[in-house]
Amino acid sequence: MDQFAVKVFVRLRPSVLDPAGEATKSASIKLGAEGIKSLRIGKMIEVKIEGNGENEVRGKIDLLCDRLFANTVIEDYEYSLEKL
């Protein structure tokens, strides 16, 4: 069995308004940060997972992302995977 460290990034789709991102953008500007054109907030999920090779693990992570980690009506996801 191989072990992998996976980082999943879940983001609101560009078409979905992100009011938390907008509020944080506003605060960033009040802090004095200049030049911020856009700020959107997502989630990062770290998973350590075992499996027989990368393909099998990718299959499991795809299922998790599609069915649980992200709601694909409103969110997109991508992930990176590192063999430990």
């Binding site: 609101l12 979905v16 308004l17 009011p19 938390a20 649980l68 980690f69 709601n71 009506v73 409103i74």
Partner: protein, 221 residues
């Protein structure tokens, strides 16, 4: 109606389950039974309410974890059989997360938790959830939510409109919902999800009775 029993689902974090039961039993004389989320035996209930609250602490997304409970897994057959399911607030979020209703509910546009009475337009009474509200086309119900902004893509919205699946629209959209949507049904009409709380409007002494008919509709065949 004597033996008609409405199952009121209790998830860890539900907090309107007792209100729903009180409204059904106390105001409408309809028998209720609490259903713990780990139960998958729905054989002795005739309709189901998924009440408001914060199931599983709203972790990950509202309704996302509840979707995987044994009870929600058993709900598919229940819905297919034509029995009625009402999802209120967090219950609506669970119904969208689990695919019984299209779209999703996301953070209110102004990020506030909104606790207020709102005017609602009855758009469609598919399934008979609203079709006897003294022929009024506007009702007033309480809302209490932080993540009640209904969102769907344009194709889904068109389908909702074309098939008359939009049950309720806000008169003064409080949360930024697409097309002012406050409640929708499935195509068959036996599943209704709405953000407002009809169970909190079943007695004049607590502010109105516009919610009574929707709860009473649970016993329709």
């Amino acid at each position: 109606m004597d033996n008609f029993t409405v199952g009121v689902v209790v998830f860890p974090g539900s907090n309107c389950d007792r209100d729903v039961s009180w409204a059904l039993e106390g105001c409408l004389d309809i028998r209720t039974k609490y259903l713990w989320h780990e139960s998958s035996d729905l054989s002795d209930v005739d309709a189901i309410v998924l009440p408001g609250g914060f199931s599983y602490g709203d972790y990950l997304r509202c309704g996302a974890i509840a979707r995987f409970s044994p009870l929600i897994n058993a709900l598919d057959e229940f819905v297919k059989s034509g029995k009625r399911v009402l999802g209120i607030c967090n219950g609506f979020q669970i119904l969208t997360e689990s695919g019984f209703l299209p779209g999703a509910l996301v953070a209110n546009k102004n990020l506030n938790f909104i606790c207020d009475d709102v005017e609602l337009e009855i758009v469609s009474s598919k399934g008979g959830w609203f079709n006897n509200v003294d022929e009024k086309q506007t009702i007033k119900l309480p809302i209490a939510h932080g993540e009640g902004r209904y969102h769907c893509d344009s194709d889904t919205l068109k389908k909702l409109v074309d098939n008359e699946l939009i049950a309720l629209r806000y008169k003064n959209n409080p949360n930024g919902s697409s097309f002012d949507i406050a409640g929708i049904t499935n195509e068959k009409g036996n599943v209704l999800g709405l953000m407002p709380h009809p169970e909190r409007a079943c007695d004049e002494t607590i502010g109105g009775t516009d919610g009574i008919f929707t709860l009473k509709s649970l016993i329709l065949k």
